[in-house]
Amino acid sequence: MTLQECYQALDGNYDDVLGRLRSERLVQKFVLKFLDDKSYELLCSSMEAENWQEAFRASHTIKGMCQNLSFTRLQQSSSNLTESLRNGWTPEAVPLLDQVKQDYQQAAAAIGELKASLGL
């Protein structure tokens, strides 16, 4: 799987990210590092612990990373979740979290495949 195919799989904008980072190498490097970030775990645990403020921050971080990497789909869902949590808990947060989870899994799977095809 190529990097481009990966972007297709996780529903991101490859051209956009390449335009900003200007190097496929850099893009690949950061994409591969995406899964190392602990914000997603923090989000999940904070939601469970009903620490809405922390959950908001985590969601916000995910959104920021996705913006940087042009992971359009996950960026959208995490942005929605962020907004739903900005002023504390709202009922929309629960389905939005599920959406984030789903999109994150999709991205993680795509990146995993990319990793595998690189032999890492």
Partner: protein, 844 residues
């Protein structure tokens, strides 16, 4: 020389034998003589004693008889009436045979007994008339020999006269008995003779009347003296009343004769001792002497012979050894001089490279790359040459086993690069096909003596070049496998294969001996010292490795070296290439596979093809799928369409977009122009180690990055302006750093607001030119941090530009930022152009 020695030895033995016989013979003869002389002396001494004893005895006997006679006279004086009866009676009692009165005119008046007559009356009568005592021999009327003892006495005779002496007779046998003259089995016998030689008393077998006659007749020649001279000597001695002793041969045997005068008489005692028995003893002794001499001489001869033979054998053996040593020395000297004159083989190979490369460099002075290439090879060859010369000088050291290995960290890539560089010109000169094969590389860096390893491989290769005809094939293979020595070691296999003239089975057994080269017409014209293989074997042995040789005449040779070398930890500084798809084209499937494996380990996916036609087809297919290969590695020598043609074909369909790189174990200088013309972008030399590929492809990676997305032309450079970046997320930090460093900014990272404040507080005023502030951070958020910085009014730079960087891009967020004291707001994702524009505005 051998004959001479043999003759000398034989002569010596013979001389020794003769000497031995002579000395012992002389010794035996001399001892015999001495013993016989001693015998004579002993005989003389014995005879002297014997004669004295007999003489004494005779004297005593005569004295005794005379005393009897005196007794008769004293006890029976003439006054007595019947003195004659008394005389007779007394004389009979004393054992006289007869008794008579002797008148002065020499007539006997018998008192009793038969009438006697003196055999030689003259001296007897004379002595009697002179009143002396005397004995004489006489006979009675019966013819019985009597010894007459006379003593002066005066008795009236019948004729009225007075007698002059009284004479008593005793039998000769009595004298004989008393004197033991006639004893049987006695060693000696004696005679009593008169001056004229006539016998008074004879004993033994003497029957003649005269003893001299006896000498005359029984005399046997001895010592050349005649019987006459003996008799004369005897007579002379008798005349002078001297004792006489001599040895003479009588009746066929040696006898000792001794003669002394007897008292009271005109007689002489002759004592004779035959040597007979003594001679037997002496003969036996001398026989024994001879035997002893013979045997000891023989024994000595035998021992000497044995010693000689032993010595001879020893000398012969030594001679043989000497001959062998001489032969060996001559061989060694010949080999050494041959070696000196033929040293060219090992030295000429790198020397040729130097000379050739110098010429090429001179011819291409305007082509710096070419010159550099040449210089690199010259220095490699020079270094090898230096090592080799050192080896030759140290040959003695090597042979005596004192060579040591200089184990150091060695890159196999560098070693093979160097060797390929050295050997290339020779291969080119013979238009041979050369291939370097690499597979299963576990560890590129190992601990080894690189000079020696070079030497081993170069020796194999230069031999392969030498013994392979023009346009033949030579291949160098390197592969590795886990070593049995442990995880720290790797087993390195090095193979040099050719399809040259090969070697005979006999030669294969001694190929590793010094100064050997196969004989035969086909090798004669090939130069060489024959030292290379010996050194090679020694080096591999010293490395605890093994060499295996497989060869067949006319088919080719294969040298296989196996070494267990310690792995060196590789400094693989992030060998990662972009995620390319590449195509590897080589006719060696093994090389393709190992290259693909090596490429994948540095982040490149690759396909491979075995010939040019397939490669072109594959490139086309990918092109049609809009999925072009990023780089194509193309072997130069390919079956059918060669590398250059393939490159031309690909260029024709693809255009110039895709870099095409030629891979080759040959020197590409000669095809470079042609290759460049058809659009080949570069060259990578075999063997293709991972590092070879990485360093060879990296320039294309940089070009690739640049080519793909050119930097905006209005790019600003901030010349290392120091920026403080507060960002809690690693990934975002890294992205920001990567992007902003590119435009000449230097970034310090604060992981949250509080750290940001601290770092700012601790920095020198004016050190940071700006702060890029994330808003959502743990511990202290961006707003609070900004307020804290702005609150440091004591610092001249508390109004430092602070730019918010956040994912929140709503207007109210922006307002909030500005309210907290920030100068501007940038929404994520970070856009370099936007950031640089903003910073440009705030940093003067």
């Amino acid at each position: 020389m051998k004959n001479k020695t043999t003759r000398f030895l034989v002569c010596s033995v013979m001389i020794a034998a003769v000497l031995c016989v002579g000395v012992f013979g002389f010794l035996a003869f001399y001892m015999n003589r001495i013993s016989s002389e001693i015998m004579s002396e002993l005989g003389t001494v014995y005879m002297t004693g014997m004669n004295e004893r007999i003489t004494k005895h005779f004297e005593t006997t005569i004295d005794y008889r005379l005393s009897h006679m005196e007794d008769l006279i004293n006890t029976n004086s003439a006054e007595k009436e019947d003195y004659l009866e008394w005389l007779a009676y007394s004389a009979k009692a004393r054992g006289f045979e007869c008794l008579a009165l002797y008148s002065s005119d020499g007539t006997f008046q018998m008192i009793y007994g038969d009438q006697v007559q003196v055999t030689d009356p003259e001296p007897f009568l004379h002595s009697m008339n002179n009143g002396e005592k005397k004995v004489a021999v006489g006979t009675d009327s019966k013819g019985t020999d009597l010894v007459l003892v006379g003593i002066s006495a005066v008795y009236p005779m019948r004729n009225g006269k007075e007698c002059t002496a009284l004479v008593g007779g005793i039998t000769v046998d009595y004298i004989k008995k008393v004197l033991a003259l006639d004893e049987e089995n006695a060693l000696v016998y004696s005679h009593v003779i008169r001056k004229d030689g006539s016998f008074v008393i004879r004993s033994a077998d003497a029957y003649r009347d005269n003893y001299f006659d006896r000498i005359w007749e029984t005399f046997g020649d001895m010592n050349g003296k005649s019987a006459e001279s003996y008799v004369e000597e005897l007579k002379f001695a008798m005349e002078k009343e001297e004792n006489y002793s001599t040895v003479l041969r009588l009746s066929g045997e040696r006898r000792n004769l001794y003669c002394t005068a007897l008292p009271y008489s005109e007689w002489y005692l002759i004592t004779v001792m035959p040597y007979g028995e003594m001679d037997v003893i002496v003969d036996e002794l001398s026989n024994q002497w001879f035997q002893m001499a013979f045997f000891s001489g023989g024994a000595i001869l035998l021992i000497m012979l044995m010693i000689f033979l032993g010595y001879f054998r020893l000398a012969k053996k030594q001679m043989k050894e000497l001959e062998a040593a001489i032969e060996k020395a001559e061989l060694a000297s010949r080999a050494k001089s041959e070696f000196l004159s033929n040293m060219s083989h090992d030295i000429r190979t790198p020397m040729n490279a130097i000379v050739g490369m110098t010429a090429i460099a001179t011819a291409n002075l305007d082509n710096p790359q070419q010159v550099q290439n040449c210089l690199r090879k010259i220095s490699l060859s020079g270094r090898h040459l230096l090592g080799l010369v050192n080896d030759v000088l140290d040959m003695a050291k090597i042979e005596s086993g004192k060579m040591t290995l200089n184990m150091d960290r060695v890159s196999l890539r560098e070693v093979l690069d160097g060797i390929v560089g050295i050997i290339q010109p020779q291969i080119k000169a013979k238009r041979q096909n050369f291939d370097v094969r690499l597979r299963d590389i576990i560890s590129e860096c190992v601990f080894c003596d690189s000079v020696r390893l070079n030497q081993v491989l170069l020796n194999f290769l230069s031999n392969a070049v030498k013994f392979t005809p023009d346009e033949g094939h030579i291949a160098l293979s390197l592969y590795q496998e886990p070593s049995s020595k442990g995880d720290d070691f790797v087993r390195v296999h090095l193979e040099v294969e050719d399809d040259g003239i090969g070697m005979s089975k006999e030669f294969q057994t001694k190929i590793f001996d010094s100064f050997t080269r196969e004989d035969g017409a086909r090798v004669q014209k090939t130069e060489g010292t024959g030292l290379g293989m010996a050194i090679t074997k020694f080096i591999v042995d010293a490395m605890d490795g093994t060499i295996e040789v497989q060869s067949e005449q006319g088919k080719g040779s294969r040298f296989h070296v196996v070494l267990d070398l310690q792995k060196a930890i590789e400094q693989e500084a992030d060998m990662v290439l972009p995620n390319w798809t590449m195509l590897v084209v080589d006719d060696d499937r093994m090389l393709c596979e190992s290259t693909v494996a090596a490429l994948s380990s540095i982040g490149v996916t690759a396909d491979w093809a075995l010939d040019g036609e397939t490669a072109v087809k594959m490139v086309l297919e990918h092109h049609q799928r809009q999925d072009d290969y990023h780089i194509i590695l193309l072997d130069w020598k390919l079956p059918g369409m060669d590398g250059v043609e393939t490159a031309r074909e690909i260029r024709r369909t693809l255009g110039d977009a895709v870099p095409i790189i030629l891979i080759s174990s040959y020197d590409w200088s000669e095809i470079e122009d042609r290759a460049r013309q058809v659009g080949v972008s570069g060259f990578i030399g075999k063997p293709l180690f991972k590092s070879t590929l990485f360093y060879g492809l990296r320039p294309f990676a940089e070009a690739f990055d640049k080519e793909l997305v050119p930097l905006p032309p209005q790019q600003t450079d901030f010349h290392g302006a120091q920026i403080l970046l507060a960002e809690d997320n690693d990934l975002n930090w890294e992205i920001a750093e990567a992007l902003l460093t590119d435009i000449g900014l230097k970034l310090d990272w604060a992981e949250n607001g509080q750290i940001c404040v601290e770092m700012y507080r601790n920095s020198a005023p004016g050190y940071y030119k700006a702060v890029l502030m994330d808003i959502r951070m743990p511990v202290m958020n961006g707003y609070q941090a900004t307020e804290a910085i702005r609150a440091m009014t004591s610092r001249p730079d508390h109004d430092i530009p602070i730019i918010a960087m956040t994912a929140d891009a709503f207007a109210e967020d922006v307002q909030k930022c500005l309210n907290s004291g920030m100068n501007a707001h940038i929404a994520k994702p970070i856009d370099v152009v936007e950031v640089s524009k903003l910073l440009e505005k705030f940093i003067k």
